[in-house]
Symmetry: C2
Subunit: 143 residues, 2 copies
């Protein structure tokens, strides 16, 4: 968590886990890790296609699933019809999504520390709370 994830380090970890290191995977991996915050599958697809025009959407989706399972990225559906991917070592903020007006507000990490601790202690569950989406009703829409 403390040290930054580089594409090379992640690639070696994937290899250690028994996965093969294909050029497509390397390019997708680099593209996600280079992203400032969120990326969508389409953005990744376009990014990789510049270097490697033959890439397919299936490969992007399957690689992202692999990276998620391996713990390098998390994905969030903010309700906008497109899933957002982001590296786990970045973007430790969260979203409050109003189900009435669709507005999205950001929340600090520390609001969740109590929950996270409790889930680990009581349920032995390691919650991925690095980028969390909470649905509900904002103050403006409650009136």
């Amino acid at each position: 968590m403390a040290e930054a994830i580089t594409a090379e380090r992640a690639a070696r970890s994937l290899q250690d886990l028994g996965y093969r290191l294909t050029p497509q995977r390397m390019m997708i991996l680099e593209a996600v890790l280079e992203s400032e915050d969120h990326v969508t599958a389409e953005e990744l697809y376009e990014q990789v296609r510049k270097k490697y025009p033959h890439i397919s959407f299936s490969t992007v989706y399957r690689t992202m699933e692999l990276l998620r399972e391996s713990g390098f990225v998390t994905q969030t559906d903010l309700g906008g019809g497109r899933v957002q991917y982001h590296p786990v070592d970045k973007a430790t903020h969260h979203h409050l999504i109003c189900q009435v007006c669709g507005s999205v507000d950001e929340v600090d990490q520390d609001v969740f520390s109590g929950l996270q601790r409790e889930l680990r202690e009581r349920y032995n569950f390691d919650a991925t709370l690095t980028h969390f989406a909470i649905f509900g009703r904002c103050g403006r829409c409650r009136d």
Copy 2:
């Protein structure tokens, strides 16, 4: 929150909010409220089709969106490819979904009370935590 939601009461509320009371809506509304716990759009569609064979999927989806906005149902994507709908006055439990093995465990409501209070106090946000999905890694997959 304390009193049970009946189809008639919900129907009147919808009318008060300016929505029209169509037979399709009434049947979908009854079908959700009668459901024990979760329902998918397809289950609702099949249920309503018994009485009203002309119903379309669009109507089911649009009605569920309306019921969600009006606060009668909540929806959750447990990662199984289909969204689950359920009445807000039932099923106040939550899910821990392992992103590695896909297992789903249930959690009690009280784990979230602190978070809910904090979101309301600090962000003036009324979080819908009646049926919540938390992704992460279960104890079995952390090893």
